[in-house]
């Protein structure tokens, strides 16, 4: 009975949904509502007006910078939540003094060798992705995730203690807030110079400044995102 009711309910919900989907404009149709408002303007004027050749970067960091500013704050908040849940029961920095001597299964030589061999290339690729975010696909979020992945595989090879020692806790605390920090700095610079929070230079003579701001924000997002993901991993892996 209950099962029949569920099926009936699903069908009742599915029919209007499928009907609505059938009404959608075809994929990629230039007359679909999503493409007739601002998209054409962004595509046409983005590259020379917003400071980056990659229109995606123009949109997420310049035209919709406020939105992305909120997003990086959300990422930072996720770290705060992880800390609150996982470290809440512990007192102060006790976790640093007590050595988590949980038995770690030995890493195979093959894995260790491959990671050591690839690490510099992964790092170089991550830096390339971050710094070229305004020209080619990629950017702070993607590059940051690649750095975080590198830190995680390195942690698996050398052990958490040694990996954490590479970045002292004081520096790490600053790195956690790098993304919001970079965004707010650029935002306030816009406030002072052009009168609005996060307002980027628009005139052609100041294009170089817009590009520099974009790169600053990209680096902030990349470094900050990597630090946050790596720290979440370390904190979760903690005994």
């Amino acid at each position: 009975m209950k099962r029949a009711l569920t099926v009936l309910l699903l069908v009742v919900v599915a029919i209007p949904l499928l009907y609505a989907v059938a009404q959608l404009p075809p994929h990629g149709s230039p007359t679909s509502p999503a493409y007739t408002h601002v998209s054409a303007y962004y595509l046409e004027h983005g590259p020379e007006e917003a400071g980056a050749e990659n229109v995606v970067t123009d949109v997420i960091l310049n035209y919709r910078g406020f939105d992305t500013n909120g997003e990086v704050t959300v990422i930072f908040t996720s770290l705060a939540a992880v800390f609150a849940v996982l470290l809440g029961s512990r007192k102060g920095d006790e976790r640093l003094s007590e050595e988590p001597t949980a038995h770690q299964s030995p890493v195979s030589d093959v894995v260790s060798f491959i990671v050591r061999l690839l690490a510099p290339f992964i790092a170089m690729f991550a830096i390339y992705v971050i710094l070229n975010g305004h020209i080619s696909p990629g950017g702070g979020f993607q590059g940051g995730a690649i750095i975080a992945a590198l830190v995680i595989v390195t942690t698996i090879i050398v052990g958490r203690k040694q990996a954490e020692a590479m970045v002292p806790i004081r520096i790490r605390r600053v790195l956690h807030v790098a993304a919001p920090l970079a965004f707010v700095s650029v935002g306030i610079a816009g406030l002072i110079m052009f009168g609005n929070y996060l307002e980027f230079p628009k005139t052609e003579s100041l294009m170089w400044l817009a590009t520099i701001w974009l790169i600053i924000v990209e680096i902030g997002i990349g470094v900050g995102g990597a630090a946050i993901v790596a720290t979440i991993y370390w904190t979760m892996g903690d005994e």
Binding site: N54, V129, P137, G138, Q142, A145, A148, A149, Y233
Partner: protein
């Protein structure tokens, strides 16, 4: 040809999603879920969104999988 490729990927995606739900072994489910991310990444790329594809590959297939593995290593491997 492109359409066949798309449909194959989408079918694979659905198969992965169903497999994740029905796998009792959580470790296996995580591995299948990372396959799901990889297929999704291919779809993004094929749809002309390389930025999203890169994020999907790095975050979906990489970092999320590792975090799930850590979570499993802290708990039990089989679903009750």
């Amino acid at each position: 040809m492109s359409r066949v490729f798309d449909i194959t990927l989408l079918l694979l995606l659905i198969a992965c999603a169903l497999a994740v739900i029905h796998t009792k072994d959580l470790l296996g489910a995580v591995v299948i879920f990372s396959t799901y991310s990889l297929v999704m990444c291919l779809i993004w790329q094929h749809r002309g969104a390389p930025d999203v594809a890169m994020t999907e590959a790095a975050v979906g297939a990489g970092v999320t999988t590792v975090l799930f593995l850590v979570a499993i290593s802290k708990t039990v491997r089989k679903e009750k």
